[in-house]
Amino acid sequence: MRNILIIAKREYLERVRSRSFVIMTFFIPLLMFGVTVVPTLLANRGSNETKHMVVVAADRDTAEMIRSHIEHKQDDKDKEKPANKLDQKRGLPPINFAVEVSTNTVDSERVALTAKVKDKKLDAFLWATPDAIKSRKLDFVTNDTSSFIDNGVLGVAVNDALRRSALKSKGLSDSDIETSLQSVEVAAQSPLGKGAPDPRVMFIGTLGIVMVMYMTVLLYGINVMRSILEEKTSRIMEVMLSTASAKDMMAGKILGVGAVGLTQVGIWAVTAGIFSAGALVGAAGLIKGVLSVKLLIYFGVYFLLGYVLYSTLCAAVGSMVNSEQEAQQMQFLVMMPMILSVIFIVNIFQHPSSPVAIFGSLFPFTAPLVMFSRIAMQAVPWWQIAVSIGLMIATIYGMVWLCGRIYRVGILMYGKKPNLPEIMKWIKYA
């Protein structure tokens, strides 16, 4: 036990003091900050751009209506849907439109306008002739599709304008039209009542937490593997083995690297907490709504079980291989169940009680991510949680035994990569 702690302590201190740990620890939150906050900041600054476009319609009324809608829609959008922060966060800058109208619908005008757009003298034109309106398909000619279409402004504006003009032609008053076209918000709500977080927020927040678990288990499992490989190539194994048992070395390594992982996640959690307290980061605010003490405990449990299981496998792989290349091939195989869990995760969010989800949450190699996701999304029967934890502990026990035996032989073997029959022999050695 003393040796395990000495080895874990060395591993921990060496890693925490290393430059890469410091960089990772501060770089990742910075990256998250960059992804979430910077586009918003940029978006607010990029609003000076003005797009020139022409609306072509047979009669001036229709053209004017479309024009006024396009020019005002941008402001309306901000006013109408303050709740929809997610659209804002995509970071598309609001655009000012300068719209001219034209009632010249002859084909030569269309050719002339197309040439103008081509020569960049004009940003775009909309061809809203009666024929086109009748066929419910308007041509919009532009070099710059993204800023018009992605904003969703144009489609909404044109549709709105056309609907209004159609209703008006049926003789409805302006106020009737206003009432009938007023949009209705569909607000998603949890059955737990108003205080509970928005399910959509819950979804994204949980996905974020699951990804953190996935990344850290993957990252630190691979760290264990690489550091064993490094010890193997630096030939320190035999020096160590003359005083510590292979079992102690493996346990110490897994413990030490795991503690580094917890430290890093801890630092990130505190950072996120500070940011969300300051209401600076949207994403952190979301997590705040999702994280409960119960979920935090389950995160801890499944993170630790998942990490121990995968790092044990990685330790065996690290001891078997002789080079980084060999290690990469093998690590993909070992990490396969984790990767599969992530591929299916959205499906599991949507159908947390499906047979696949239940199987995945009980199968020890996928349980950490799948069971945690299920717990976050719904109330899972306690016995399923108990079975999944029990199975994981049993599997870890078996894997520690098995991988310990592979490790013990592997760390002293140099040369070619062992094949399966050879590994089976290692397991049987006294």
Partner: protein, 300 residues
């Protein structure tokens, strides 16, 4: 009292027998040479002695008791595969290895500093291993094996890669440890380097002990059948001479193995007739010669 006893120790990997029913003991305070060509089973034997691997059959007693992990705190091991944590500072590395051998961190630090001074690398204690030359790394490795003041010191190819100055430094330290009553095991295929240090030896080849016992009695058993001659003049006597079994001409001198039953005095007369003899010495065969001879026989 024996520091270690091996009794019919056997280890095989698949169908390859690495160590075949090996039996020997090392007296406390003795210097023992475990000798043999590459792949003879030396390292496999050592690994079983210190519990890195377990023998398939046979018995190993360390300090008079069946192997137990606790005993390793009194064993110092310099493996053939030298290795240190490259990114770690020297002093921290030594403290770490000392702690693993059951020392307190403060005691380990003090001892490590003493050793670094003795081996003249104290100026480098705060440097990382990767910044050191190969020779300096060797010294660190050496300190790592001796830091915890072990009673039994195992050195696998200790002089490998050392320049003559450092080899002498190391030899002096070993002699000093011998004086302190430590038991030392040298494992090597370079006989000439350990010949003068060992009290007894075990020669192994292909996992089998082919020759073992007290070095002096082994050598005297071979008799003084070698002659070294320093001469000036005609060297014709070396060729087609019934008295000369084999010879090695080193330029400055020649080493001759006498033919069976040949008289050394007769040879001296013969040489003195035609050349001027500066030195004529009757010698025991070198360990290397015995080794080549014995291993050659066992291979045949």
């Amino acid at each position: 009292m024996h520091t270690i006893d091996l009794n019919k120790v056997r280890k095989s990997y698949d169908h390859f027998v690495a160590v075949n029913d090996l039996t020997f003991s090392i007296e406390q305070g003795g210097v023992f040479g475990l000798l043999g060509p590459n792949g003879a089973g030396k390292t496999s034997t050592i690994r079983m002695m210190i519990g890195i691997t377990a023998p398939d059959s046979g018995q190993i007693n360390l300090f008079g008791k069946p192997f137990e992990r606790k005993s390793l705190n009194k064993v110092g091991y310099l493996p053939e595969e030298r290795g240190l944590y490259k990114k770690m500072k020297i002093i921290e590395q030594l403290i770490f290895l000392g702690e693993l051998h059951g020392m307190q961190a403060s005691a380990a630090k003090q001892k490590a500093t003493e050793w670094c001074k003795r081996l003249e690398i104290d100026a480098w204690m705060q440097k990382k291993v990767e910044e050191l030359s190969k020779g300096m790394q060797q010294k660190i490795q050496f300190i790592a094996a001796l830091l915890h003041d072990p009673d039994f010191i195992i050195m696998d190819e200790p002089f490998f890669g050392l320049d003559p100055v450092n080899a002498t430094l190391l030899k002096d330290v070993m002699l000093d440890l011998k004086k302190q009553g430590k038991t030392i095991l040298f494992s090597t295929h370079r006989m000439d380097q350990v010949e003068k240090l060992c009290d007894s030896i075990c020669l192994i080849n292909k996992g089998n002990a082919v020759l073992q016992g007290d070095l002096k009695s082994i050598k005297s058993g071979y008799g003084k059948s070698n002659v070294q001659i320093e001469y000036e003049g005609n060297g014709d006597f070396l060729e087609k001479n019934p008295l000369v079994g084999a010879y090695n001409n080193y330029g400055n001198y020649v080493e001759i193995k006498l033919a069976p039953g040949a008289d050394a005095q007769q040879l001296l007369h013969m040489v003195a007739e035609k050349s001027r003899v500066n030195r004529f010495e009757l010698m025991e065969p070198s360990l290397e010669e015995i080794f080549i001879n014995t291993v050659g026989k066992s291979n045949a």
